[in-house]
């Protein structure tokens, strides 16, 4: 017994600050957040009457919140599709050594180093449909003007100011920012495939396409899964970018749970705000927990 304490004691002492901090700042606070979400504290005045799941029922019945959830789904689908397509395409092209490969990789990846707030400044302009000119009239600007001048005028649209599809426009800068990251993931995946596997397939008479289709791509599914988890959970949390592109936090068109939580917080509706936070946590957990359990099981093997 004493020996065990002697071997584990110092180890535990080293990690205990972290364990205590995370126990408080993650798990205790999650519990407290759930408690607040079950009170009727809807104004700045303290009040802590227990109301059970009432706030949740009201939120799920609320048309605005339903719209926010639908927006979140649409955002996630477009964001995922975009980053996976571009990330995969770039990685596939750059997989074989090429002249200037490092340059292309760096350019595709650089948006990742920029904050959503900074990139939001320029995307706000790019995605603005109209701008008042000096004589007071409204003229097209941003991407719409560029599309018009290169003969792609039919692609012009009102971007995020559309209650049904506006949120998909927010996915455009998000895709711009994170495709490079997905590319890096896939590149690491491609390079992790042993050369012998390709050689063996070639000796068996596989054409280049068949080699990819039947040998290489299936090897990439774990990478693909990580990419989906990482991008998916970023999408569920996306907040900064929306705030930076759409100045008015109350804008209906682009409302998602993360922005709605902020609006409720500003309005001192702490119970609803906490409830939305909890709902976001459940959504993220649905994606992430199976993944964490899966990877930790694999590790044991």
């Amino acid at each position: 017994m004493f020996k065990k304490v002697k071997t584990w004691g110092p180890a535990l002492a080293l990690i205990s600050p972290t364990l205590i901090l995370l126990a408080v700042f993650v798990y205790a606070l999650i519990a407290e957040n759930v408690r607040i979400s079950m009170t009727n504290q809807h104004t700045a005045r303290p009040s802590s009457d227990f109301v059970g799941l009432e706030n949740y029922f009201r939120l799920f019945g609320d048309a605005d919140f339903q719209h926010a959830l639908r927006n979140l789904l649409l955002l996630t689908v477009v964001f995922l599709a975009g980053t996976l397509i571009f990330g995969f395409l770039w990685a596939w092209i750059l997989e074989r050594p090429a002249f200037g490969e490092g340059f292309f990789r760096s350019v595709y990846l650089f948006p990742m180093a920029v904050s959503f707030i900074a990139s939001g400044v320029v995307w706000r302009w790019l995605l603005s449909s109209l701008q008042t000119d000096q004589s007071g009239g409204e003229r097209t600007t941003g991407l719409n003007r560029l599309l018009d001048s290169v003969g792609l005028g039919f692609l012009q649209n009102s971007w995020w100011s559309d209650p049904n599809w506006g949120i998909a426009a927010i996915a455009v800068p998000a895709i711009w920012q994170l495709s490079g990251y997905v590319m890096a993931l896939f590149l690491a995946g491609f390079r992790g495939i042993p050369e012998e596997l390709r050689e063996a397939a070639r000796i068996d008479g596989c054409s280049e396409w068949k080699l990819y289709r039947h040998v290489i791509f299936p090897q990439l599914s774990p990478v693909m899964l990580s990419a989906v988890i990482i991008i998916g959970h970023m999408s569920l949390k996306l907040f900064d970018l929306i705030r930076a592109i759409v100045p008015d936090a109350n804008t209906y068109d682009i409302q998602v749970p993360a922005t709605m939580m902020w609006v409720k917080y500003i309005g001192s509706d702490y119970a609803d705000s906490a409830a939305i936070g909890t709902i976001m946590l459940v959504l993220v957990a649905l994606v992430v927990v199976p993944y964490l359990v899966y990877t930790s099981r694999q590790e044991k093997r």
Partner: protein
């Protein structure tokens, strides 16, 4: 996490030697570069707009010239942006640098322990730590504001310093654990044979070989704390907040001074971009193990 999902940091695989080319492959090559260059232009569009607009004066404000180079290169936007952002830049450095160093050290100790000491439920503890980096911080935000108030931590930089240390711990632990997994067991056994305890082993064997791990973690923490807006929005204001808050005030509102706000966006991005350009290789390593933290 497994190496399959999170490749070890700083390991950049070597490209393979090129295969001999045929005629058809040469055509493929041309097509390949055409696509690659097209995407370079597309990806750089926002950078181009930021750059040219930041130098535009009122005479270039008309939408018809929006995509053209400035007729006269004005620096008024840059001056305004610098005056607005300078104090916030100083505050951000004062917060981000200590936050990165402290969480890196804690992460290194955790990573070492978790990679070597198989105490009961070590895997469960590790998974519980990891979950901390996936949570949407909105799910703790309301009680967190109350907790920080209760602890008496002032709003602004002190609060953000604490928060970036605490919520940076999971990712730092993960990166270091993966890094230390590759340290040969003999090294640690040898130290133990010499009678070194855990702490001695950590200080005299592990720390000296940890530099690459520290580079990756410091870069990662620096970038994510520098670019953070969510915590900053809840725990600071324009007068005491970091550069993301200052920038959002400069660029927000209905009537935006686009020259100033784009210059501001460039100024606010410069530190992380410099890190990316100078230490790009390590930056990618950090992303590989770490972009899970949104």
């Amino acid at each position: 996490m497994t190496t399959a999902t999170v490749p070890p940091p700083v390991e950049v695989a070597k490209p393979r030697p090129p295969a001999p080319r045929t005629g058809r492959q040469r055509m493929n090559r041309t097509l390949k570069y055409a696509i690659l260059l097209l995407f370079v232009f597309v990806v750089l569009i926002p950078a181009y707009v930021l750059f040219i607009t930041s130098f535009k004066g009122p005479s270039d404000a008309d939408p018809s010239t929006a995509w053209l180079l400035p007729t006269t290169w004005e620096t008024a936007g840059w001056e305004k942006a610098w005056d607005t952002l300078a104090p916030a830049l100083g505050r951000t450095f004062a917060m981000v640098i200590p936050a990165s160093i402290i969480s890196a050290f804690l992460g290194s100790m955790n990573g070492f322990v978790l990679s070597r000491w198989r105490f009961p439920y070590a895997n469960v503890v590790f998974t519980l730590i990891l979950f901390g980096m996936f949570i949407p911080y909105q799910a703790v935000m309301i009680p967190l504001t109350q907790l920080m108030q209760g602890l008496g931590v002032p709003n602004g930089i002190p609060s953000l310093l604490v928060l970036h240390i605490v919520y940076g711990l999971p990712i730092c632990t993960l990166i270091f654990r993966n890094y230390y997994e590759s340290v040969p067991n003999e090294l640690i056994e040898a130290a133990r044979m010499d009678g070194a305890g855990l702490l001695r082993t950590y200080a005299s064997v592990i720390l000296p070989i940890s530099t690459p791990g520290f580079v990756v973690v410091l870069i990662w923490q620096f970038t994510s704390a520098w670019n953070d807006y969510l915590f900053a929005a809840f725990f600071s204001s324009g007068s005491n907040g970091p550069v993301t808050i200052a920038l959002s005030f400069l660029a927000g509102g209905q009537l935006t001074d686009y020259a100033a706000s784009m210059a501001g966006a460039l100024i606010a991005s410069l530190p992380t971009l410099l890190v990316y350009i100078i230490l790009g290789k390590y930056f990618v390593g950090g992303l590989m193990s770490g972009s899970v933290k949104g």
